[in-house]
Amino acid sequence: MIDNKKELQIAALQNGTVIDHIPSDQLFKVVSLLDIENLKTPVTIGYNLDSKKMGNKGILKIADKFFEQDEINRISLIAPAVKLNIIRDYEVAEKKLLHLPDELTGIVKCNNPKCISNNEPMKTRFKVIDKEMVTLKCEYCEMKTKKEDIVLL
């Protein structure tokens, strides 16, 4: 906890979101998924930081930005153990542990070219059938997608 506080103080985030415990190899994917390149507010990106739990980790501190639930869900697919802190007036106002939702809408592409979702102007819909292994099943064509084959939209 003390370490955590120090980090927060370094960033001196008045309001915004801190995303901690991002696996280093997923950090830049998370950056791109959250569309951080297009933010106008200050962002601190920590890469390959020491972590007692994970060996090394990534961290993102994003000023004046609070994410919507479906934006957060995008991260949970590739970095499910991430910790998300909402900061208001220098204090952690809310802590969020991310969980894979039971259903993913409009986030993942179906890998079946003959799936209706790749041929109509519509949102994809997947059921998460195995949260541990991250296996998805298309609600339309019923094809399963394994974690390593997941393509985000």
């Binding site: 003959k114 799936c115 209706i116 979702s117 109509e120 102007p121 609600e139 339309y140 019923e142």
Partner: protein, 303 residues
């Protein structure tokens, strides 16, 4: 999804299947009724399938319903680039029910999400063909007097055959023993083996089509081994005559054995089997009308 659409076998509970099977039986006893009087049913065949369409349209006509629709998307506005959504929305204004076949997988599920009228899936690409499964289940029930504890042997193309996959799912409620006979290249996909393991069902796999397996079967479900499914044509040449059922192979089979086939058959059942009383594939096709009458009335909640 709308509760009363009929899209996938996986949506059906044991009770649903038993209710439909019993209802199909009552339509067989009395197929001509005025249940659909005043109803308009649309048969939208974005991909041609004469057999399935005629079976559905016969079912509707015998119940005094009216049919609108098309048998080939080439003549419709979907060939001009209209989305499926727009076609479904438009037809929903006219009809009480849509029966649709589409070349894209998941098309029927999507249609069921964008309209308030029931959708019956008459085949969506390689994915589902649930009315075929219902007629298979009805045929099994009718010939065996039950669905529970049967030994079901499936032969041929178990990899791509969607009727095989759907029948596994449909039968999974009834404690079957499955025996699968297929060439190496056309073995049952792992995902269905996992499914059976999760359900605690036992199954065995063979590459030999032996009398030994036939002799313990209650149902022999034959499918076509298609040349175009093989990446290695040498392999096809080796196996093409292996998975052919001949009448002589049935001499020690069980009295209650019945041979099913989703049709069309090419050469996988020799013609000398046709006269064997255990051959059931033509009656099976006839059962399609009764099974479809049951499905239509179920989604329209007429009974």
């Amino acid at each position: 999804m709308k509760k009363n659409s009929f899209v996938s076998v996986a949506d059906l509970s044991k009770e649903d299947i038993l209710r439909l099977v019993k209802s199909a039986g009552s339509f067989e006893e009395n197929p001509n009724r005025k249940i659909l009087e005043g109803k308009v049913c649309a048969t939208l065949f974005f991909e041609p399938s004469t057999r399935t369409r005629l079976s559905f349209e016969t079912a509707i006509n015998r119940l005094n319903g009216k049919v609108i629709g098309f048998s080939d998307a080439a003549t419709t506005s979907s060939s001009k680039g209209e989305t499926l959504k727009d076609t479904i929305k438009m037809v929903s204004n006219y009809a009480d029910l849509i029966i649709m076949r589409h070349y894209l997988e998941g098309a029927a599920r999507y249609a069921s999400e964008i309209t308030d009228i029931p959708i019956i899936n008459a085949g969506d690409g390689a994915n589902q063909h649930p009315s075929q499964t219902m007629l298979d289940l009805y045929s099994i029930y009718k010939t065996q007097g039950k669905l529970n504890n049967l030994t079901i042997t499936m032969v041929g193309d178990l990899k791509y055959g969607r009727t095989v996959h759907s029948l596994i799912v449909g039968m999974s409620h009834f404690k079957p023993e499955f025996e699968f006979i297929a060439p190496e290249e056309l073995r049952l996909p792992d995902t269905y083996k996992q499914f059976m393991e999760e359900k605690g069902l036992s199954y065995k796999e063979y590459t030999d089509f032996s009398e030994e397996v036939i002799n313990r079967s209650d149902i022999l479900y034959m499918t076509r081994v298609q040349r175009e499914r093989f990446t290695d044509l040498m392999e096809y040449e080796k196996v093409k005559n292996v998975y052919i059922l001949k009448n002589s192979m049935l001499k020690n089979s069980k009295e209650n054995l019945r041979i099913l086939h989703p049709l069309p058959r090419v050469n996988e059942i020799a013609y000398d089997v046709d006269d064997n009383p255990k051959a059931y594939y033509f009656e099976q096709a006839k059962n399609g009308v009764f099974a479809r009458q049951a499905i239509i009335c179920d989604v329209l909640e007429t009974n």
